[in-house]
């Protein structure tokens, strides 16, 4: 099918003017083709005999399709055949594309912050100092997302022991903005279960008898370890949300939610919680609480957590469903250990029980996986000696 008009990519062969076996000469009209410009005659450029016809009248085929085979007669003038029907024209290599560069380079003014107008506005609203924000926009400029991220991190910024009143208000604002964003953007789902803590508490009591007072373990240590080990089994709850997907974290650093005197909350990391001994975890917990309340936390501790655990047992709350700290994808909640009626081998007994909850990002996991996680926590807490 020849190319007969400027943009032709296909044609309809409307009629053959010759038949198989006909002798044809160069310049003869062999067929008629319908194009968007109308009916156009197809001429042949060789002399010979039509050996076979491959496309029937009425068929529409792309240009370049072989319509018929012509056997060239010996002695007929042989013209130089071009190498291939359509030679590919070099594609535009990315490097050769001309970038729409302005004639002048972007002028740098020393001392002037590169921040977009939108980000500047947001920084004012969230009371973030633009100069302190790390920019990820073009040329290292500060974007809206950078400001939001900084605002969220500010929540975990170490609070001074005595906060001037307006600082408190600002912190409330920051927390509020971050939590609002979390709720707005993350599709939370919630699961809860009640765990029989009889074995855990019994073991804990016995264990603590063997330890000096300063090294005694609190139930929190068991909960942290169980959480960490359970996360090994359900790693999608230990991931970071990066734009369009959850990226599993290689290590398990539990962010421990610690309330601050005077209001506010931080959740610094208990690093590698799955690999540390209970005693080590306990020491770490004590240290975090002390430094959180005295303003001695390191910034890496604030940005390292891969999951958060919040426990309001001290406050007497039985069940807590937390709000996820982005870019994490889960927050585990533990309530107070309380004595409740429990069924053991068909009889009702009093047992210490604990409500464990999971608030998780439905983009990264689903109820089934979440359920497996809570089941694992339960299972692990039934064998406290192996934690």
């Amino acid at each position: 099918m020849p190319i007969l008009t400027v943009d032709m990519t296909a044609g309809t062969l409307t009629a053959w003017r010759k038949r198989v076996g006909d002798a044809i000469m160069r310049g003869d009209i062999i067929a008629e083709v319908e194009t968007d410009k109308g009916l156009i005659d197809v001429e042949v450029f060789t002399t010979g005999v039509i050996e076979s016809i491959l496309v029937q009248a009425g068929e529409t085929v792309p240009t370049g399709t072989v319509l018929a085979i012509i056997r060239e007669e010996a002695g007929a003038p042989v013209s130089v055949a071009p190498s291939a029907p359509v030679e590919p024209i070099p594609a535009v290599p990315p490097a050769a594309r001309l970038a729409p560069a302005p004639a002048g380079a972007i002028t740098e003014v020393p001392g002037r912050l590169r921040i977009s107008p939108l980000a500047r506005k947001m920084a004012a609203e969230l009371c973030v100092d633009p100069a302190s924000v790390r920019g990820t926009g073009p040329g290292g400029s500060v974007t809206r997302e950078d400001v939001e991220r900084a605002a969220a991190a500010r929540l975990q910024a170490p609070a001074r022991p005595v906060e001037p009143p307006d600082r408190q208000a600002r912190m409330r604002q920051l927390i509020g903005a971050a939590m609002a964003r979390s709720k707005r953007e993350i599709p939370h789902y919630y699961l809860g279960t009640t765990i029989d803590m009889f074995r855990a508490m019994t073991w804990l009591a016995e264990e603590n008898l063997k330890r000096p007072v300063t090294e005694r373990l609190l139930p929190g240590a068991l909960l942290m370890k169980a959480t960490a080990l359970a996360l090994r089994e359900v790693p999608e709850l230990n991931a970071m949300w990066r734009g369009t997907e959850a990226v599993p974290s290689p290590a398990i650093h539990i962010g421990v939610a610690i309330s601050l005197r005077g209001g506010g909350l931080v959740a610094p990391a208990l690093h590698d919680a799955d690999r540390r001994s209970l005693g080590d975890l306990m020491t770490g917990l004590r240290d975090l609480v002390r430094r959180a309340r005295s303003g001695g936390l390191r910034s890496s501790e604030l940005s390292d957590p891969t999951v958060t655990v919040t426990s309001l047992g001290e406050q007497g709350v039985e069940t807590v469903f937390g709000i996820i700290y982005p870019p994490q994808v889960a927050i585990v909640g533990f309530g107070k250990v309380v004595e409740r009626p429990w069924v053991v081998e068909g009889r009702i007994v009093a047992r210490p029980v604990l409500a464990a909850t999971l608030s998780a990002d439905h983009r990264a996991s689903d109820g089934h996986r979440g359920g497996l996680f809570l089941a694992a926590v339960d299972r692990l807490l039934q064998e406290p000696g192996r934690l």
Binding site: A103, G104, I106, T107, L113
Partner: protein
């Protein structure tokens, strides 16, 4: 340094060119016997004769095309199209030949053609005689476009155009011909593509060219009385545009207002604004403003025409607006 009018400055450059290079000749409507519609070529026919100063019939397309052919044939023609309004008849020769023949032939030829045109409105000559279309010409790759605002530049840029191997279009605002200025006849040659700071400042960059430079300077005077130090940048050359100068000014002032007598939509000011956005985005404290002609064919009645064109009051207003509560 001599004080002379804009038209005298153009005439002196023409005279010097005609004297100095036998390849140079001037052709256009009424450039000879009439002395030029704006009296620019007054006296040149008498001095140089009808071969060097040629009156043409009213055939813009053909005499501009003949200018292209003559340049190809080794001459250095200066084609005068009486005003930009009539240049529309020659658009095909300009776009499809003058701008195109070099690239399309694979670099085999250069067209050292100079085309001068009067441009602009403000003299109550109504819609068909008041256009400012230099922005259209600045759109076309293959030609160069300059717009001198002072007598010194009228002379200097015409000299530069005559030395350029490619087609250069010189737009002379019709309201400037009688304006006085200092001209140094021994000055070094001007450069096409270089803007000039007419008045340094630090509050706002007032970027403009041609007939609006004077209005911008007047606006700057008014604002200075209120302590606002406006920087006035005269582009002088629309294609190529001195983008580094524009960006440097905005980097300093953080605000820009562009004054352009073309209609606002798809104006040359829009191009400058886009370049500022691309190159100085992070330097801006406010959106870039534009003061252009209203989107109407130029009316005849004076009060209407005045309202349609950029005026000093409008420029002052635009500067204050960009300064916001600071202004």
């Amino acid at each position: 340094m001599i004080k002379m009018t804009y038209r005298e400055a153009v005439r002196s450059a023409l005279r010097e060119a005609l004297r100095g290079d036998p390849r140079v000749f001037l052709m256009g409507e009424d450039v000879g016997r009439y002395g030029g519609c704006f009296k620019v070529s007054h006296g040149l026919l008498e001095e140089f004769g009808p071969e060097r100063v040629r009156d043409t019939p009213l055939s813009e397309s053909t005499f501009l095309g003949a200018g292209i052919g003559a340049a190809l044939g080794g001459m250095r023609p200066i084609v005068e199209i009486m005003t930009v309004n009539f240049s529309l008849l020659a658009m095909d020769q300009i776009v499809n030949n003058a701008a195109t023949l070099r690239h399309m032939s694979g670099g085999q030829l250069s067209i050292p053609l100079v085309v001068r045109m009067a441009t602009g409105g403000g003299r109550q000559v109504a819609a068909q005689h008041s256009h400012s279309l230099e922005g259209w010409y600045a759109h076309i790759p293959g030609i160069k476009v300059v717009a001198p605002a002072t007598p010194a530049d009228a002379r200097g840029l015409l000299q530069a155009a005559l030395r350029d191997p490619d087609p250069v279009f010189v737009f002379e605002h019709s309201a400037l011909y009688g304006v006085d200025g200092e001209v140094d006849e021994g000055a070094a040659p001007e450069e096409i593509g270089r803007a000039l700071i007419r008045r340094p400042g630090d509050a706002v960059s007032l970027i403009t060219y041609g007939g609006c430079v004077g209005k911008a300077l007047q606006a700057a005077d008014q604002l200075a009385a209120d302590g606002i130090a406006v920087e006035v940048l005269d582009l002088r050359s629309l294609r190529p545009l001195d983008t580094p100068a524009v960006l440097a000014s905005v980097a300093k002032t953080h605000r820009a207002v562009i004054v352009d007598e073309g209609w606002r939509t798809c104006s040359f000011a829009a191009e400058v604004s886009a370049q500022i956005m691309e190159g100085a985005f992070y330097s801006l404290d406010a959106p870039v403003g534009r003061v252009c002609s209203a989107e109407v064919p130029m009316p005849y009645a004076k009060h209407m025409e005045d309202a349609a064109l950029p005026q000093v009051a409008g420029i002052v207003g635009a500067v204050r607006e960009t300064l916001g509560s600071h202004g």
